[in-house]
Symmetry: C2
Subunit: 374 residues, 2 copies
Amino acid sequence: MSEVYATRRSRLRDHFTAAGTAAALVTRPANVRYLAGAAPQGSALLLGRREDLLVCAGPPDDRVCDGRPDENLRLHILPPNGADAGSGGDAAVAAALLAVAQDADSLAVEEHHLTVARHRVISSVAPTLRLTDVGGAVEQLRVVKDEEEISCLRIGAEIADQALGELLESILVGRTERHLALELERRLVDHGADGPAFPTSVATGPNSGRRGHRPTDRRVEEGDFLSVCLGATYRGYRCEIGRTFVIGTSPADWQVELYDLVFAAQRAGREALAPGAACGDVDRAARHVLDSAGYAEALSPLTGHGVGLEIDEDPQLAPAAMGKLDACVPVTVEPGVHLPGRGGVRIDDTLVVRPEADGGPELLTITTKELLAL
Amino acid sequence: MSEVYATRRSRLRDHFTAAGTAAALVTRPANVRYLAGAAPQGSALLLGRREDLLVCAGPPDDRVCDGRPDENLRLHILPPNGADAGSGGDAAVAAALLAVAQDADSLAVEEHHLTVARHRVISSVAPTLRLTDVGGAVEQLRVVKDEEEISCLRIGAEIADQALGELLESILVGRTERHLALELERRLVDHGADGPAFPTSVATGPNSGRRGHRPTDRRVEEGDFLSVCLGATYRGYRCEIGRTFVIGTSPADWQVELYDLVFAAQRAGREALAPGAACGDVDRAARHVLDSAGYAEALSPLTGHGVGLEIDEDPQLAPAAMGKLDACVPVTVEPGVHLPGRGGVRIDDTLVVRPEADGGPELLTITTKELLAL
């Protein structure tokens, strides 16, 4: 596995050396993890001229650490000093000093993550160091996944499918959104997840179909729409599944109509996934179905997004999104409609973009999308 | 309640206008929430010359929002635009433009939170605006709590005590750290918490006593130390309790000795809490007990910290900490010892600093600190 990390670092090094910078400082936790195998709390990764170092803010015993750092990477543990933690005596600053010690005259930093205060401290403690911006270079490397990463997402999706499937077998009427959400999170961990990929959303009745709805004490009632969105983190990788059900023996006409519409939009989005497809076109495929039915206002700013070490990564599937999809990019397709006061429908899958020759998009979240009456 | 927020904003305004700045931009979520009553995702608070505005990145339906924004504060909702979210077309940048529209020539920003990239975007879209640093001014306002805030912490502590108490009545041997942690988190929510204040830590046997230990699949065994650290979030306020127990009929001699030592250290720390006490002295009081017994190396960089809207706030109780405690400052006192391969003890309370005349420090987490054999 450690070769993977070395290869990733080497690709980043090619990028910043081509831009004329001698060393790079990576601080965004998901980026550190991608390149180093783990991102202990408060850590920073220095890609130096002579050596790559993972600088950690505390001794190993104080680290809250997911995964194991690449063994070929030297760990540099800072001495404990609680009082300095907020004032810049931290891993990022130490890494900048170590870059100077390695004769680097320039250091590319993640300006979209590094704070102004830390940037100033680095400038003042290492005034000979020319600071440049590495931009979203690591995020770009992260977009296309290797099969090992996709395998983690696939396992995470299986776990989420299992947790959701078990919930559907239980009695739902009378239970609160908060209890159902907790139950799902417990089941995720029972089935081997590191934890939930994001706060589980359970929305009933008038709350159903709301994106990112926080579970309340509202109880499930007969006739409700119930929309659920959950995901598992497995070895750091985060997937997402969302489904909407109806509670009771038979759905009302408006529920069937709305469900069919969102289902058609979601299918259109899924079917538009292909290597080379423009992200904006995928969004448009899903959005067009809802727009045509008069639901433009109800729609959220995006209909899907990349997933991986973070739950919301590039690419974005949104009207103004630039860029095209590649093979081996995992994305969600998750259109929804929420009617104030009545509720709504949201259907969300995680899929991997694959060429037609390989069977087209690979669906990771396989729970049925029929409208189940529970 | 809205007067509270107006008063807080007015205190911050006094601070930055005294420093010669016309307006301020608050972006750190806990700071936004403190001043505005809520911090919708991606929001920024502008304290302008003519009006204070809470700028939100998305329409209300897409916000994942704790609490309600102060009704006297004008909400400024940005038009949905998924593609701009990462490139600076966000609440912070919009707030800077609104400051210009209010004839501000200068804007104090939170340099310790704002990223270099966003700072650059603000400079380029509002070149007439002189950007200064408001520093940790809001964090400093947050240190001393009002009785409403302390009441939220007190309720949170009661919830954590209840959850812990119920766990102790159940059978523990054979259950995994992960299951026990999940069970505690479910109970927190059952008893009315918004959620856990931080990831619940359950550590058994050789893991016991480790600060921030992540629960594993290790099962509780007879003879183990079991250390548990949990907390509830209640109306945004986060408390913390940690206890260590022994599993089985009677603890071994080394367990009793180690427990008594950490208990003595924790009591010394608690007893040192008083208005006017130096933070370094409180730390020293607890640390000295362990140092004298030869456990200096085993000790973490701090023995306590403030709590409130974040679980780790000012003040720090650490060797090099500056400053003195005030009345109505809630802090943890949480020394611990971990012996590699054997395990250890951690005892953690949340207390509010009170003057002697009011009975001294108020203990919020009242679960017994006797060494219980479970």
